[in-house]
Every structure is written in C-alpha cells, then in structure tokens.
C-alpha cells in the first residue's frame, strides 16, 4: 500500500488555561483539546472530520499543517514531521480556512493568484495553465479583476479554494468551507471539489457542520468528541449506528390530523396539526418526494428542512441507539 498522506498516533494537545482565583493567585487548568487520536489517511481519500464546537477539530488541523506542535504523540503529513518542515510541507498542501480570508483584500483575484504562484516559486508560465483551469472550473472569469473586498461570500470562497489549489497540492485541508454559504454556492463548491478529486486524485480533509458536505464529498467520516475519536468509518456505517434523518417541517393553511407519507414518519405536530414534522432517511427517499406526497394531500404554506445536528449524532453515538424515530425500520 502507498505511504499514508496523514498519519497520527496517539496525538494529544493540551492547553493551559489560567483563571483568576482570588486577588493575586491564578489557577492553572489543563484542557485536553486533542486527547489521544490515532488515524491514518491514504492518498486520494476524502475524509470528513466532524464534531461539536470545541471538539478539537481546528486544533487537529493546526497540528497537521504544522502551525501547532503536539503535546504528545506523533503526526506525519506527506511523510514529514509538520512543524519542523512547515515551509516544505506548505508546498504539498493547500489549506482553506472558511472563516478567515487568505486573499489580499485590496487586490483582485488575478493578482492574488500571481502572488501566490510567486510565493510557491512557480514560474508564471507554469502557473498559467493551472490558474486557467481553476478559473474555468470555479467560474471565476468575470470576477478576476474585482478587488476581493467587493466579492460576495460565495464568490470569495470560490476564490479561496482556487488560491489554495494554485500550487497543485496533494492534500487539500478545508476548515468549514461551506459555512455561511447559500445552497447554490455550497453545491457549486461541492461539485468542484468532487471533480478536482476525480481529476487530480487530491486528498480531501474537511471539517464541517453540514451533513450535506459529508454526503456529497466524503467516503470516510471521523467523528471527534472532547478530543477523542468517537467514530471512524463510512457514512452508511455511521447511519447504521445513529439516525441521520432529515426533518421536513411543513406549515399548513389549517389544522390537520397527522399526515401519512410513505418513507417518512410523522414525528410531531404543533398548533393542532397546522405545523407537522416529517422525518425521512435520505438513503430511502428525497425531500422532494416527501413534499410531493404532502402537496398531493394539502397546500403547503411554508416549509423548512432540518439537517441532523452534529451534536445530536455525537450524543446518540454514545448512547448506542438513536433517540426519536428508529433508523432501521425497513
């Protein structure tokens, strides 16, 4: 088998938090942000790294990319010890931080790509075909000459992803890449990432709060909780252990008895049935099909779709069985 692209063995990171105790004394408290995780990721894999806020995802990413030194344990990225080889490693990996920009706010994207190629010491002639490819696939053409500060969040995010890929990294790390994006922007980004992976074999590691990202992009899911690995396997495997059900909430024009819909379960009503909640598994049906069956019975005034919350998934992982509706009724 090929050499792993990311490998950590019993990885730990502890932070010391000082809190005030009395007038002058301060208490030291140790927080285990990452508490003994061992994972091996092979080239070409696409891994989703999920967990509640503060579960240790960002800390892990910082250790993989060489920004942070582990307290104990071993981490190797692209066959290197990350912190000591940080700048060498930087040429093999691309990193996208969803919540902070790495583009130059006052420069147009065209200029940012030029600077990034220069920083990665790629000659302009060699960089051009790659930049053209990214511009084409991420539909950045019309935006190339707009200063980054004038781009919308979705446009900027596409720019960020392109910027992280200019130097053809083997590994792309995405920290919350779809946070705050609308559905269309999310979908566009996911489609691009799938294509990029298929075409260049780029390994993907992404943290997210959006189960849609995992479903569309990842063939492996890592769930962390309180710094420990709670699950490592495929998404269907995760679905067997916890309910990854979506809930379609429909508002009706009048009170109604519980609606009956095939492949979905009525999991609750409010306002005497004027609002009803229908849970369904995305493996068995789609939101559109459930909605079509509802509209065949009655008008729908308004609707929302609830994704399974990561926090809920983690909780049910520990308690063995999923709380409301059982997942494997068929």
């Amino acid at each position: 088998m090929t050499e792993p692209i990311i490998e950590f063995t019993d990885l730990r990171r502890t932070f010391v938090v000082r809190t005030k105790a009395g007038r002058l004394r301060r208490q030291k408290r140790q927080v285990h942000a990452v508490d003994g995780i061992s994972v091996t990721i092979r080239p070409g894999e696409a891994c989703g790294y999920i967990g509640a806020n503060g579960a240790g995802k960002s800390t892990t990413i910082k250790m993989i990319t060489g920004i942070l030194v582990p307290t104990a344990g071993r981490v190797r990225t692209c066959g290197m010890e990350p912190v000591g080889n940080r700048r060498r490693l930087a040429r093999e990996i691309g990193v996208v931080f969803g919540q902070r920009s790495q583009l130059w706010w006052d420069l147009p994207l065209r200029e940012s790509f030029r600077i990034l190629s220069a920083i990665h010491r790629i000659r302009a002639d060699d960089a051009r075909p790659r930049i053209d490819e990214l511009v084409e696939e991420l539909a950045l053409g019309p935006l190339l000459d707009t200063p980054v500060r004038q781009l919308s969040l979705g446009e900027r995010m596409r720019g960020e992803v392109a910027a992280a890929l200019v130097h053809r990294p083997r590994l792309l790390v995405l920290d919350e890449p779809t946070i705050g994006l609308d559905m269309i922007s999310k979908e566009r980004l996911r489609t691009f990432l799938q294509a990029e992976r298929a075409k260049h074999g780029t390994t993907l590691l992404l943290t997210t709060h959006d189960m849609g990202d995992i479903e569309r992009l990842c063939d492996r899911v890592l769930v962390v909780d309180h710094g420990r690995l709670a699950y490592d396997g495929t998404l269907p495997g995760l679905a067997e252990r916890v309910a990854l059900q979506r809930v379609l909430v429909v508002d009706l024009p009048e009170a109604r008895p519980p609606l009956q819909v095939a492949d979905a379960e009525n999991v609750g009503m409010e306002l005497d049935g004027q609002r009803q909640r229908l849970a369904f598994s995305p493996e068995h049906t789609t939101a559109a099909r459930v909605l079509a069956q509802v509209t065949a019975q009655i008008d729908v005034v308004d609707l929302t779709l609830e994704e399974p919350a990561i926090e809920e998934i983690v909780r049910t992982l520990y308690h063995g069985r999923a709380s409301p509706p059982a997942h494997s009724e068929r």
């Binding site: 060489g66 700048r87 902070r100 920083i119 990665h120």
Partner: protein, 269 residues
C-alpha cells in the same frame, strides 16, 4: 518544472503590492502628504527648541538638524519596510497568521510584503531636505569620509530601527495587546535617536546606545561627520561601529522574533 528563483519570487510579490498602492491614487497622495506633514511637525519641535536656546546638547541648530535628518530618514525607511510588524496583535486577533504559516515563505517576509507602505517615503523626503539644508548651514566639507558616513548612516540606521520593530513584534506574541508597551521603545527609541544623545540622562543614554542602539543611528555618526568628540560614555568613535551595532540589534531581534513564533506554534520558548 523549473523553479522560480527566490529573488524573482520576492520581486513579483513586492511589485504587486506597490502597484496595488499606486492604483488607489487619491488615498496614496493624501497619505504621502500626511507623512510629509508628520516629518515637518517633528522637525518643528526641534526647531522651536533651538530657536529659544542657542545650543541643544552642545550642538547648534544646524548641527542638531543634521542629527534629526539622519535619524528621521533612517526611521522612515525602517517604518516603511518593517512598520507592519507593529500590527502583530491585529494579525493574531484576525487569525491571519495561520494563513501566512501555511505558505512556503518566511513569516516575516510575508508580513513585510503584505503591506509595504510607500507613502512613508514622504517622511524620508523631509529628512533628506533637512539634511541638505543642514549640511549647507554648517558648511560641511565633503570629503570621501564624510560622504561615506552620510550614505552609510541612513542605511545602518534603518537596519537598527528595523531590528527594533522586529524585536517589538516578537515580544507582542507574549504580551497580549502589548503594542502600547512595545511602542514605548520603538517610537521612544525613534525619538531618542533624533535628539543629540548628550541631552539624554546618563542611564537612558546607556540604554539607548548599548541595549537599543538608537543613538548610533544618527547622533554618533553625525559627531564623526562634524568632527566633534562625544559626551560622557559616548565617544564619537563608536560611530564607526554602527554596522556592528546593527548586527547586535538584529541578533536581539532574531531571538525575540523566533521565540515569539515558537510561542505561537506552541513549541515553547
């Protein structure tokens, strides 16, 4: 695929930054004028002082102006190149350092090139004008030695002030929101360097020479240029060693900067 040379890499990055500033023409003009004004006001301070007393620290107005001009030029150049290191706290807060750290260029080089402020040359321009006037006023004779000192002094001076910015930047990794503290000795040192070193109290004179070599940026070389001896503990011949002082300052700065970055990555000091 042939690699881009290191020099070409830096040239592209810098060129792009400079073009970006030139493209915001109005704000560039306003800021350059502003920076010229700052230089004039600072000189005004020394002028007012000397217009009322005949001598400042044993120097006449023209002689003190020479010290001011050399220091001011050096500081303006250092500020232009390294001034960005001042804003480490903002970078820390906005989480921009992480993005810098995942790129294959040294952190300091990225910080410097991320916002090089050409407008600060306005202040150096004021220094240059004052320098020329001062040389004419005191009737300086241009020999190879004075010419050498006039050219090398702003360069070593800028190196010393630059080291002070880097030193302060490194310290800011340790002190949360420590810019007020570090400003005290970056800008304080900048101010001390513009004055004749003889007006400083003895302990301060020692601090700003042998620890933070501010008086070496202009005062001591200016004494050499004018052929004057120095005050107590500051013989003018120390001025010849300005490049050594610059190396010393950068040694201090490198230690502070490196341990600052190591602190950030949690590698321990």
């Amino acid at each position: 695929m042939a690699e881009l040379s290191l020099i070409a890499s830096y040239r592209t990055v810098l060129g792009s930054r400079i073009r970006a500033q030139a493209s915001y023409r109005l704000s560039f003009t306003v800021e350059t004028l502003n920076s010229i004004l700052v230089g004039i006001v600072e000189f005004g301070e020394i002028y007012v002082l000397l217009a009322n007393v005949p001598q400042l620290g044993g120097l006449s107005l023209g002689q003190a102006a020479l010290v001011f001009a050399l220091a001011n030029m050096a500081f303006a150049i250092a500020d232009m190149i390294f001034g960005q290191l001042d804003s480490i706290p903002q970078y820390l807060r906005m989480g921009r350092l992480e993005s810098f750290l995942v790129r294959p260029m040294p952190l300091m080089a990225q910080m410097i090139t991320s916002d090089i402020q050409l407008r600060r040359l306005g202040r150096a321009l004021v220094g240059l004008v004052v320098l020329i006037i001062a040389c004419l006023t005191i009737g300086l004779e241009l020999t190879p030695v004075t010419l050498y000192l006039l050219i090398i002094t702003p360069i070593t001076g800028a190196a010393i002030y630059g080291a002070m910015f880097a030193l302060a930047g490194g310290i800011q990794f340790f002190v949360i929101d420590g810019s007020e503290f570090t400003n005290a000795f970056v800008y304080g040192g900048g101010y001390a360097g513009q004055l004749p070193g003889s007006v400083l109290l003895l302990p301060i004179r020692v601090l700003f020479t042998f620890v933070i070599p501010a008086t070496v940026t202009a005062y001591l070389p200016a004494l050499l240029i004018m052929g004057l001896p120095g005050p107590e503990l500051l013989p003018s011949r120390l001025g010849w060693f300005a490049p050594l002082f610059a190396i010393w300052a950068w040694l201090l700065a490198a230690i502070a900067w490196r341990s600052g970055v190591r602190r950030f990555t949690g590698a321990g000091g």
